[in-house]
């Protein structure tokens, strides 16, 4: 247990330079474009020089960019995320209620996708080249190739048409409502992940089941159950976890469109309009947030390696 704590602690400390580098990159990459930040803040309305001067001063746009970067970084460290260019709202206020939605979507869809991918992949491998395997593979191929936003629109059309009480707008007041709102989009996102991970599980499992050590195990008289789950599965699941790590990262990006379609008050909608509108402070914070989620997810995957494969050691 102690070495886990130590390992995780080390990994978290190692995240700090990554976060700093990315924050620096995102801050300056955004400002490479010639977009006039004061004009973005003023938006679509007539403005006098007086208003522009007031905006420039209020948002500190006249300071050198490096100083602005450190001001911003200082703010983020103490929890002051700055002001939204579009509405003038405090960004912390703006995103605090949205984070649970996005996080819920990512976690639920990833857990769901991974669990069912492994189950279906193993079943498929055990029934290799039989109708069950072909069936499962076909379904997976379908969900792997159809973009999830298309599935979302279709599902929404069907749900609103055939289930009169299905609601996909507004907010939630309790945990039950929260789950109800995010379950359908989470399942759709999971399907996409399931398709990819299931296919990896299947092929990895198939190659393990054909390996010479399985023949040895058979010869020694081990039961089928032991061979499949103790030996083949442990070895087969490692590449699956590697792909899962990447697929989780995709899931974070995938929430952007799905949240829009299911009008979920997550960070996705905010990110889309912020990127389009040149709303830099919001983009900066959301990119940092997504990066943190990604880093934590990959940490979880790394720890899972150790759990499933005793040959992998914490380092």
């Amino acid at each position: 247990m102690k070495e886990y704590v130590k390992y995780i602690g080390k990994r978290i400390i190692a995240m700090i330079p990554i976060l700093l580098i990315v924050s620096f990159a995102i801050f300056f990459l955004l400002r490479l474009s010639s977009t006039d930040e004061a004009a973005v803040i003023i938006g679509e309305r007539q403005a006098t020089d007086e208003l522009k001067a007031r905006v420039t001063q209020e948002y500190g746009l006249d300071k050198p960019e490096l100083i602005r970067y450190f001001d911003w970084l200082k703010g983020v460290v103490v929890g002051d995320f700055g002001k939204d260019y579009d509405s003038g709202q405090d960004i912390g206020e703006l995103i605090s209620s949205r984070i649970p939605v996005t996080l819920g979507l990512v976690l639920i869809s990833s857990a769901l996708g991974l669990t069912f991918a492994i189950i279906l992949g193993v079943i498929s491998a055990l029934h290799r080249n039989k109708p069950l395997d072909t069936g499962i593979s076909l379904v997976m191929l379908f969900f792997c190739s159809v973009p999830s936003f298309l599935v979302s629109v279709l599902v929404l059309l069907i749900l609103t048409k055939f289930i009169p009480g299905y609601s996909f707008i507004g907010t939630y007041n309790n945990f039950g409502e929260f789950l109800q709102r995010i379950s359908v989009p989470a399942v759709i996102m999971a399907l996409n992940q399931l398709a990819l991970l299931g296919r990896v599980t299947r092929s990895s499992m198939v190659s393990q089941l054909q390996a010479p050590y399985i023949v040895t195990a058979n010869a020694k008289g081990l039961t089928d159950k032991d061979i499949t789950y103790k030996h083949a599965f442990h070895n087969a699941v490692i590449p699956v976890l590697t792909v899962a790590g990447m697929s989780f990262a995709n899931a974070i990006g995938g929430t952007v469109l799905i949240e829009q379609i299911f009008s979920l008050p997550g960070i996705g909608g905010l990110l889309v309009s912020a990127v389009q509108g040149g709303n830099y402070p919001v983009v900066q914070i959301l990119v940092m947030f997504m990066l943190i989620v990604y880093l934590i997810m990959s940490l979880i995957v790394d720890v899972l390696y150790v759990v499933v494969d005793p040959r992998v050691k914490l380092q």
Binding site: D36, A38, K52, S167, I182, Q260, P265
Partner: protein, 549 residues
Amino acid sequence: MKKRLLSLGLTFVTAASLLTGCSSSSSGSATNTGSGTESAGQDSGDEVTFTIGYPAEPPSMDPKDFNSTACTLIGYDCYDTLLNFSMEGSDLEPALAESWEQVDDTTYVYKIRQGVKFSNGDDMTMEDVLYSMNRVTDEAYSMSYLFENVDSFEVNEDTYELTVHLKQPDATWKYVPATSPCSIVDKKVVEDEGENYGQLSGSCVGTGPYMLKSWESGAEIVTVKNPYYWGDPDTLDVDKVVYEVIADDTSRALAAQSGQIDYARNMSSETLPTYENAKNMTISTYDATDSIFLAFNCEKEPFDDVNARKAVAYCIDKKAYTDLIGGKYATTQGAFILPRTMFYLDEDAWNEANDSLESYQQDFDKAKEALAASKYPDGFEFNYYTVPTYKAGAEAIQSMIKESGLPITMNIIEMQQADQFSVSYGYTTDDDGKRVYDMLATGWTSDWLDPTGYMKNCLYGGSNYQGGANKAAWVNADFDELLSQSYIETDDSIRSKEMLEAMKIAVEDCPYVPMYEYKSNYIINDKFEYEEGPNFFWNFTVANVHLKK
């Protein structure tokens, strides 16, 4: 061990979510509770809920920030302005001011209603009135341009009179008290909360028929009846207004179709069929003050030459452009960039002028003549700026110019969405400090029906500055003289004549190519009765939404 517990926990959560997802779907709306899942048109008990679906949320609930339709739909009802526009848009009606009078050319006196309370129970005092007016005038807020002619405000605590002193006569001042910056706020609350007022973390206190109950950013805003409302509470049929933020066009249309929202507006051509299929919902349209036109940059080559402008204008087929871009509710413009609703001062004269003056319909012969008469008889090249969303329109214009066979080359420059205001309002400049584009598709929505709502912003020389809406950078001394004259004049019929004269100059000089005007549209649940007018932006209130008898 902990990790195992964690993964077990996750599996449990997912299973639970699947179950709840399924059960609530199959059992329908009967089990749904709470504002989010409350189906529009289904009211718990006698409570009447009116659910609005709109893609964006207001920047804040402070009237100083009210500058978009989102604010109109949910923010205005928390406040009252001094006056209101009449439904047809040209007259003014009492609101917080019971009566008003113009004492002389530059002095207006408003008699303020007594006994009005804010939604927190505080009395509305003359101090609040003075504070609210000074606040939007002194500080550079988004609507402060409305107050540039104000010299000072003065209140009399005993007689409840607000006196406005103007710097110079201004025929359009009479409209200003009916606009959102003239909402009265509670001085004590606003001063206490400072920057937080009206924000997610702050409060919203006004005298309007409804008051803010909750705001979940990105999702939902709820207002309920204000118990201290000064008007007759029995006239309010709607008890609760739920404003749902639904960013995606298709999802919003589906929400209307499945009865989750009672009201939506500005439906796009793509989603209109879905709305048309919505049961128990009716689409209505009304004449608004929106129009779309092309702007030439008159302060630099090649369009500093009037004949170069005309050569391009004569190449454009407005009808084809309108059909392609405008959608179902668009009508091709005549000679004026102003929409026809704004002709009300003297409809016959304005309509006649709009129809008979040069409207630069496609005519390649005339284009050729104009080019020959210009500084560039051998042709020229120009840059047309557009955002990706409107590229189809730019390409249409490009091909029309090509079709003319004239030696005019139009380059399409795609700008980022984020840069569009910077470019169109002239913040982005070339090396000479001039607006960067040669040509631009743009549009305008007037603050009121009075023609000044276009002329002052889009054509007046004084609006040609960085941040100004004179996107043609067109300055004409005769035009400016006539328009300024019309501001001093109080007789509407004389004003109308002066403005019409000025418009004739603008048409002849061709700084803009008028393209089309379009009706505004909205869809509303059949159980409600409601009608919208051209001044929707200032006039919308759920107090006017009634249950059908």
